[in-house]
């Protein structure tokens, strides 16, 4: 029975990783860059909801929309100011810039909101489901997070498959130069990707903080890195891969903690990253792309 309970906890944790990983993988798939500031955009999104709900008393759905709007603008501004000028620079330069943006956001939050922890009140009002005489307990947050994750994944895949902008994204991800020659606005498409990815970050932030209700300027950092591992695990650039990678990583972390060692849990998670990179660098669902000469 406790195994099932651990499994459920793992899925709960994994669904949070998955929803963050979706943002990572989208941006990587199209812009071919690791947006390490993604975790911190999540943190900013959570603060916006926190302030909107607790300090100004806005209703929860309005707060989430507001947060999505703020994150979208933030994402586009970050892309325009920090990443666009480096479009043709080396990958390393972009990566370092992303880490810089990440620290910048953390310290801005530290200045505005202070260092002390805020208790985030859950936006999910659903009652936990109790199974087997209360032995098993599925929290409302877990159900909502998994559901939201699946809905977002399906919507994203449909958007890419059926909309014009989605086709443009696919084209840019395959060959940016050729896409431009075909008349696709490459910069616009990348900006759109950041906008969508950042709006997702707002949703991820709300769900992360509803499940684990403490909010500090560093809330997004560790889940962000774990979600990055999840994205690589599932195959970076692949949307269903991010979902599967996230869930699996959460389950591995919780089961490792329960049955191997609570001290080694994080070591186990990061050794997954190393093993994946050694054995199957493209991840579970990643595509093998031939380098053209």
């Amino acid at each position: 029975m406790s195994f099932v309970s651990y499994l459920l906890n793992g899925i709960s944790l994994g669904s949070v990783y998955a929803i963050i990983a979706l943002g990572y993988t989208m941006v990587y798939g199209i812009a071919k860059m690791l947006n390490f500031a993604h975790g911190d955009v999540i943190m900013i999104g959570s603060y916006v909801v926190f302030v909107a709900v607790n300090r100004t008393g806005l209703p929860v759905p309005v707060s989430i929309l507001l947060s999505a709007a703020v994150c979208t603008i933030l994402g586009v501004v970050i892309e325009r100011v920090a990443y666009k000028p480096l479009r043709h620079a080396s990958k390393l330069a972009v990566l370092i810039t992303a880490i810089g943006v990440s620290y910048f956001l953390q310290n801005v939050a530290l200045l505005i909101f202070g260092a002390d922890t805020k208790a985030f009140s859950s936006v999910v009002s659903m009652k936990p489901i109790q199974l087997a005489d209360g032995q098993l307990n599925i929290s409302g947050e877990t159900i909502v997070t998994v559901a939201a994750c699946i809905v977002i994944m399906v919507c994203l895949m449909a958007f890419i498959k059926y909309s014009k902008a989605g086709h443009a994204m696919l084209a840019v991800s395959e060959d940016g130069g050729a896409a431009q020659l075909m008349g696709i606005n490459v910069n616009g498409t990348i900006a759109l990707t950041f906008a969508i990815g950042s709006a997702l970050a707002a949703v991820a932030g709300v769900l992360l903080c509803s499940t684990y209700p403490s909010l500090t300027p560093y809330t997004g950092a560790m889940p962000g890195i774990k979600a990055f591992v999840a994205a690589v695990f599932g195959g970076i650039g692949s949307i269903p891969g991010a979902f599967i990678g996230g869930i699996l990583l959460g389950v591995i972390e919780i089961l490792g903690k329960a049955y191997i060692s609570s001290q080694l849990a994080d070591a186990i998670v990061f050794s997954v990253l190393i093993i994946v990179l050694v054995v199957k660098p493209t991840g579970l669902l990643g595509k093998q792309i031939q380098e053209k000469v």
């Binding site: 406790s2 309970s5 651990y6 906890n9 709960s12 944790l13 926190f50 607790n54 310290n107 530290l110 202070g114 260092a115 002390d116 922890t117 805020k118 208790a119 985030f120 009140s121 936990p128 209360g134 307990n137 929290s139 684990y212 209700p213 403490s214 500090t216 300027p217 560093y218 560790m222 889940p223 972390e253 919780i254 903690k257 329960a258 609570s262 001290q263 849990a265 994080d266």
Partner: protein, 400 residues
Amino acid sequence: MKKLLSLAMAGMLAFSVAACGSNDTPAANDTNAAPEGTTTEGTDNAADGAVIKVGGIGPTTGDASVYGLAVKNAAELAVEEINAAGGINGVPIEFRFEDDAHDATTSVNAYNTLKDWGMQMLMGTVTSDPCIAVVAKSAEDNMFQLTPSGSAVESIAQPNAFRVCFSDPNQGAASAQYIGENKLAQKVMVIYDSSSSYSQGIYETFAKEASQQGLEVNAEQFNDNKTDFTVQLQKAKEDGADLIFLPIYYTEASIILKQAADMGLETKFFGCDGLDGILAVENFDTSLAEGVMLLTPFAADADDAATKSFVSTYQSKYGDIPNQFAADAYDAMYIIKAAAEKAGITPDMSASDICEAMKTAMTEIQVDGLTGAGITWSADGEPTKAPKAVVISDGAYTAM
């Protein structure tokens, strides 16, 4: 484009050099001024600007910044009060605080910066791990060091170092004794942070003392994942623990309490001074903490006049309710003042001479502070004061 970049870089370089320069100059001037003033004037130091320079180190950024900021604010408050009341034997204190981001290397750099500035005594560092690194340096220099809150044993391993707070072993043993003597539990589960020497230190002595008290102790750790505690709580449930001991900080504890409530876990919770501050977390549902017991030297809503005036001044100045770290730092400044007056410290003394005089004075003074009445020190730097147990009821700390 490249030209623009190199221009910008050159500009930044020039700026940083200029910034360094402006930091250095007053420091150099001050160190010269101090001896001159005292040789000519002798007693009336305040008139010619001689000051006693006290440095402070702690994390004002990073994830331990809540402690560093509390210490910095409270220390500055205490310095203002002391200077307004005439300083140390008529000499004002000049206080400068450096950030160490809760990192040992940065902390040693901060220590060196303060030394260049002309620091004569150190009030710091705030957190245990950086303190261990800095105390090795300050011992070499024979610099008097008083840490408000570095509670690890090694934090004051050197003869020049003293502390205001309890040591970790002290807290762990006191908690186990309290639980055993008051028959609060038979089976205890400890959830501790194996990446923090604070938490680990308390756990080790707790386990030792608890077995002497006849308690059954199990332990679960966490380190980098400070958000998900479902596994540890599930294990407590399976073991049938009737008390969970939390020698950790309140950020994690607030999540543990929430997750325990979600799981329908009905155990008692007992913590140490790290849990102090949990009620001040903005928007925290205090009903979750109902019945949580903790050993702490300071409670912000205590009734005595000193605590009340400190809390109201601090709150009006910084907008927050001070936590235990703030109280420790406030006490630390007054302890420095008491010991310096006893030792007859003058601004012209070298840091090493001050240290020698302070070391003797510390064992002779008795201080009534916010964190304890009649605190005395032994030569190894440990304070003697009685821990207070409080229980959270109706959203407030109440003495047990």
